[in-house]
Subunit: 340 residues, 2 copies
DNA sequence: CGATTTTTGGCAAACGTTTGCTATAAGACA
DNA sequence: TGTCTTATAGCAAACGTTTGCCAAAAATCG
């Protein structure tokens, strides 16, 4: 920086002000300084800067290991959307894995408490906590995405899972379906609770009993999405009274389920209607093309970043701590009225 | 840190040595210091540390925007594998997007030259370069993954694309196939060149003419994998002499191609054998289950990190600058001898 | 117990910025 | 020409560590 100052014939403090602050320096000298910097190939040292101003420009995204595969269809989109928004705001994106081990938790906490990051977007229901340090009281702005953690006081950007599933179930009922097969995610998982709840609400609204839905799966996490579908197909085969409609809680499990069911000789949608969740592009090319509830991932990513940057900017937005982005039902050939 | 020192009853320099260096301090006092740190909830400031020692502990991964979707099946695995290896080595992973605009290039260069990152793993054939600054001469250790950039002097971790495609083509020839349909990636793309080359080599080895393969696609990048398959299906429909075997260069395009082809009334593998590339799990559940060449993503990620850390550690490894990880052909029902 | 080795204390400089302060210089204006 | 405004210079402290140095203390050993 001193070299740049010398070359531009200005003081070092002026260089600093020219490069960092917007208004403090005359446009002409700023141009001179930029030219000198370019000529010398000078790039300000980000770490020194961050140290001095006491804040980092890195945002970390906390992904539970199990998310990688299970929702593998949407993770790349999430990352791309978030990163794009962040860069526009001058921030960088760091990846933090949250597995079930203490090491990864400690690692995340080190990042948070070590001043490395400025904020976090979390896609896990579990906040890292070990040795008395907890992400919750790290002082970092945090926003949760996909999962509703407003109970824990976190801003949350979510979809209307429950409502969407309720609506699609209602639609199936309208088509004449009376017996359902629900492909569950991990027991207790937020999404699973919401989605199953949506099914039950629709049943109740139609005056149907809870017995109308058979719940399958729930022993594996989303990481094993395909396995869930395979096991569920076995489960289905063993049922005396066959359901006529299937509600799956991820595309992965729907795809493997359908594959196995068709191999067993059943036809979709003639024998069985299927609707799934996530909206991955591959659904369009399944056979038959799968109806699915599309998660508006990009929009959620943008919203999450916006909330986070607001929180960082201290522009307190005491408004709703829960941002709901509407998901979108995509109807394809996998749904039809039941054979009578 | 001063507080910790006071509480532990030691000097501040001792605390520093205890927390950072491995051997320099007695095990007993180290324990005392750790206890004090925990009690106070103290975490060393990473930025100050990095500034002082003049090196960051952040590795950036450079993903071209187009990779996100096209190879969406494998990106999450790449990230997970790399991140896992990095964390074990005490490093963090930062995401850098490389799009076709100058902004993203500048951003990456700022990271590289601003001392923010310690090394880079790049999955793009294009090295960011603007205003005379180039990633190539940033002094950063870089390793390329998926793409062979050893010509540009970069360590490269790649698969044996060409060989794998050659082998599978030879297998198709052995089964009796004589006319092929090749689903291309972007024209000039490294992978496409390699894979197409593999096809041609196999043809030549069998004494077949280049005319035996019809090349389709190549106008879109991998980002539009599904679209490629759709267009190729139209292309296929217009052919007078139908090929009997299809070689696709990504799972996405294979899946959409198969979907459209079957809709047109053709049966796989009776009318048409199909083999694709990537090895995404969904292939097993396509109808019919797709043969595919599996990219050993995790292994490549590990290898890339290992090379990078070696380079950082200055342990010059002047050995082969190209690391080839063998891909794996997974045979499923989508392949059969042609109907005669 | 003396000699030797190991460990720690204390000090201070350094990493590359930002930023508040005062003082000076340069323009603008009347 | 004098006054007011704006822009810059120059200085120095600060951010929170690490690390080399030397001396002091403690532990180990014969």
């Amino acid at each position: 920086m001193a070299d740049v100052a010398r070359l531009a014939g200005v003081a070092i403090s002026t260089v600093s002000r020219a490069l960092a602050n917007p208004g403090r320096v005359n446009e002409k000298t700023r141009a001179k300084i930029n030219a000198a910097a370019k000529q010398l190939g000078y790039t300000p040292n980000a770490m020194a800067r961050n140290l001095r101003v006491g804040k980092s420009n890195i945002i970390m995204i906390i992904l539970p290991g199990s998310l990688y595969y299970g929702v593998s269809q949407i993770i790349p989109q999430v990352l791309q959307s978030i990163n794009k928004s962040l860069i526009q705001g001058g921030y960088n994106l760091m990846i933090a894995n949250l597995d079930r081990d203490e090491i990864s938790e400690r690692h995340i906490l080190d990042l948070a408490f070590g001043g490395s990051v400025r904020g976090a977007i979390i896609l896990s229901s579990k906040l890292p906590e070990v040795d008395g340090r907890s992400l919750a009281n790290s002082g970092l702005p945090i926003v949760s995405m996909l999962l509703d953690m407003s109970d824990a006081g976190l801003q949350s950007v979510i979809t209307n899972d429950r409502e969407a599933v309720r609506d699609v179930t209602a639609e199936l009922i309208r088509l004449g379906h009376r017996r359902f097969f629900y492909l569950a995610g991990p027991e207790g998982n937020y999404h699973d609770v919401e989605r199953y709840g949506g099914v039950l609400e629709a049943l109740e609204a139609a005056g149907l009993s809870k017995q109308a839905v058979h719940r399958s799966g729930g022993r594996l996490d989303y990481q094993h999405g395909f396995d869930i579908g395979v096991q569920a197909a076995d489960d289905f085969a063993g049922l005396a009274e066959k359901p006529t409609a299937v509600i799956a809680t991820s595309d992965d499990m729907a795809i493997s389920f359908v594959s196995r069911i068709r191999r067993a000789g059943l036809s979709i949608p003639d024998d069985l209607s299927v609707v799934s969740f996530d909206g991955s592009p591959v659904c369009e090319f399944s056979s038959p093309p799968l109806s699915t509830i599309e998660q508006p991932v990009e929009e959620m990513g943008r919203a999450a970043v916006e909330l986070l940057l607001d929180a960082i900017g201290q522009r307190q937005n005491p408004a709703s701590v829960r941002t709901v982005v509407r998901s979108k039902l995509i109807l394809r050939e996998s749904i039809a009225p039941p054979k009578t």
